[in-house]
Amino acid sequence: MEKTLYTITVYTENFVGLLNQITIIFTRRQINIESLTVSKSSIPGIHKFTITAETDLEMVKKVVKQIEKRIDVLKAFYHTDDDVIYQEVALYKIGAEAMLDNPEIESIVRKYNARILEVNRSYGVLELSGHTEDTQELFERLKEFHVLQFVRSGRIAITKSTVERLSDFLAEMEARNPEHQCKK
């Protein structure tokens, strides 16, 4: 089956050790995680993992089900790039001398819509948000000015769908809670 880059989003309770529980599922299936971002979600107490990995549809379905099987995982979804709006952040550090000696850096910054975060006597730091190809392209472009450091974040993504599936899920689960029901 054809391999595609999938974005897998996982919502979990905030317990120690969940990252390991999730990543070992990829390890067992020999799937390389391309990027991983973990942060608090918009719902208090719930953490969100955004993982990208290249695999096929059948496998991503199995992986998502096995992630959801973990007790403290609330819900996991998989998306293709078409289903989501996504972004990464990249930072580039360039020596001060190169910055000052090369006026074309200014036009590059304008062209790519990059931001200058910091300039001091030793170096300057540029920032660009975009897809991997965009940030990579800027990196290639800046190479001739000797990039001292280059880092790229993992992907964050938001679905194009208008339904907030996690809130629906939480409402559905809470409705099941016997403590909230009169009988029993």
Binding site: G17, I24, R28, K65, I71, M173
Partner: protein
């Protein structure tokens, strides 16, 4: 209720009482000593079994859980105590056995410092448990224990680890207990889906050659009667997985035998002929399916399971019926039209006849030559009126016992299926005897497997556990020898064994025993073994080059089953 201030260790005891625990298996040690001290105060509340090794404790708890349906409880120390239960955890995870395993841990301030007997128990156990949690404060104990039992027991059962730091054991806490009845991130019983139930029923109603595969899910869901009603109404023949054995009694008319690598000819071959394959609480293990690319390709597949992640994992399903078999089976049965599939069911008879003549009769009723494994199993099964609990080890003894032991009661087959753990049997038989004290336990093992956990004879001695141990001794690691004979040009690498005098070892533990080498002595020895309700070790010298047939060689398809004559 008046709240009582107590040590964490005592809060653990009170929590276990709240969960109606009455039997605990374990082994003490430095980082769990406070818990054992509390256990001493509560010794009248629990039946406590000190095994001779932590692996023995966890396998015993597995045997206990499997026969009783209750959650098995194990308490061991940190470090080596914890790592010694790893095999049992992996085994219980694959075989869906509910366990709560409490491991001691070094004090919270020492965590991560490579302290004496410190192991990263959570890190090690996460992949092989349903849930594992480290308790660092006494106040968390009631909450974590309640959650542990809920998770271990509800839905598809499995093992849970609670790693209890030394300071949490001695810290004072005000005890109050609330049972866990809900976890928002865990839905143990998927909601019934009426449209899938209707679709499954329609598919079965239209089937000309339906066939059911019965797995342990039926036993775990206590759905034996519901299964019988389902099969009877639509006249569906059924095969059983290794762990599904005894869900249907062996003489049930629609029961057609064991599935898989060493299963019966009929149910295996018919998998490749049926038009609708109905899997109930089973997970299409490779030992059942053989080559997946050729497995039941002609059939529509209906999969009943409680675990969503099993659907389409190995075999693509046409309809998935999610939920507890106890609820889903009656829901589908209600929509079934009574049917008769006489010709289809009769077609199993040719397979049965062929297998009977070519494999079964020579195995269980040989007229000459050395004693065979099958005849020992058959005679013990008959002598116990097919009412005993069968516990097996792993290998040829397991396959032969699964093939020739008969069952008349549910929850009567305790074996290590998914993990295939040699050494599982002896401690598991201890747990089985304690979990079903009114029943007889017959444990079949090989000369290899018995020696992996032989030390548990000490536990049998100390607690007077009435298990009947039958060693089928061929002085070989028989199953590996069989593969070497068939697929590795008879190069018997590391399989011949020089063995001790097993009855003498039993004698040293005060356990009666006997060795039988001749066929004419077998019946008397079995009679002697079964004459009372005490432990007994019967060693039977069986043919050295005995084979288990039929066999589906690994990687071939189920209809390529070989009979070996």
């Amino acid at each position: 209720m008046e709240k009582k201030i107590m040590k964490g260790a005592e809060a653990l005891m009170c929590s276990l009482i709240e969960e109606n625990v009455n039997t605990i298996f374990g082994y003490p040690g430095g980082q769990i000593i406070t818990v054992f001290d509390a256990l001493y105060s509560y010794r009248d509340s629990f039946q406590y079994i000190l095994t001779r090794h932590e692996q023995g404790a966890i396998h015993a708890a597995q045997g206990y859980a499997r026969v009783s349906g209750d959650t098995g409880v194990v308490i061991v120390t940190s470090g080596p105590g914890a790592t010694n239960v790893i095999t049992g955890l992996a085994d219980a995870m694959l075989d869906s056995t509910p366990l709560v395993v409490i491991t001691g841990q070094v004090g919270a301030s020492l965590l991560g410092s490579d302290a004496f007997q410190e192991t990263d128990v959570i890190g090690v156990t996460q992949p092989i448990t349903k849930w594992s949690y480290q308790i660092r404060k006494a106040s968390e104990i009631p909450w974590a224990v309640a959650r542990a039992f809920y998770i271990a027991r509800e839905g598809r059962p499995g093992p849970v680890v609670l790693d209890l730091t030394k300071d949490a054991q001695s810290e004072m806490v005000e005890f109050s207990y609330k049972k866990c009845i809900f976890i928002r991130s865990y839905q143990p019983y998927p909601e019934l889906q009426p449209e899938n139930i209707a679709q499954a029923a329609e598919m079965i109603n239209k089937a000309k050659r339906p066939m059911a595969l019965v797995g342990q899910g039926v036993l775990l869901g206590h759905a034996e009667e519901e299964l019988k009603a389902f099969l009877t109404k639509a006249d569906i023949p059924a095969g059983s997985t290794l762990l599904g054995l005894s869900a249907l009694s062996s003489d049930f008319s629609l029961y057609k035998g064991l599935l898989g690598m060493h299963g019966n000819l009929g149910p295996n071959k018919k998998t490749a002929e049926c038009d609708v394959l109905i899997a109930i609480g089973m997970r299409f293990d490779d030992r059942v399916t053989g080559d997946l690319k050729k497995y039941a390709k002609q059939a529509k597949v209906i999969h009943f399971d409680i675990d969503t992640s099993e659907i389409d994992k190995n075999v693509k399903t046409s309809v998935a019926v999610l939920g507890n078999a106890k609820e889903t089976l009656p829901a589908v049965t209600e929509l079934l039209q009574p049917a008769r599939h006489t010709a289809w069911i009769q077609s199993f008879e040719a397979c049965e006849k062929e297998e009977m003549e070519r494999v079964i009769i020579p195995e269980i009723m040989p007229i000459a030559g050395p004693i065979t494994m099958g005849e020992v199993v058959n005679r013990v099964s008959e002598a116990t009126n097919h009412e005993a609990i069968l516990v097996t080890d792993v290998g040829q003894n397991q396959m032969i016992a699964a093939r020739y032991f008969k069952f008349s009661r549910s929850r009567s087959m305790i074996t290590s299926g998914g993990l295939g753990t040699m050494g599982f049997g002896l401690p598991a038989s201890i747990g089985a005897a304690l979990g079903a004290p009114e029943r007889r336990v017959c444990f079949f093992t090989g000369d290899g497997g018995i020696q992996m956990t032989l030390q548990e004879l000490g536990t049998i001695m100390q607690y007077k556990i009435p298990v009947k141990i039958i060693i089928l001794n061929n002085n070989f690691l028989g199953m590996v020898r069989q593969w070497q004979e068939l697929f590795y040009r008879e190069r018997y690498s590391s399989t011949p064994m020089n063995n001790p005098d097993f009855p003498k070892i039993a004698e040293a533990y005060g356990i009666a025993g006997k060795k039988v080498t001749k066929r004419e002595d077998l019946d008397d020895a079995i009679e002697e073994m079964l004459k009372d309700n005490k432990a007994y070790l019967l060693e039977v010298e069986v043919e050295e080059n005995g084979m288990v047939y039929p066999m589906i060689p690994a990687g071939t398809s189920v209809d390529q089953i070989i009979l070996g004559d």
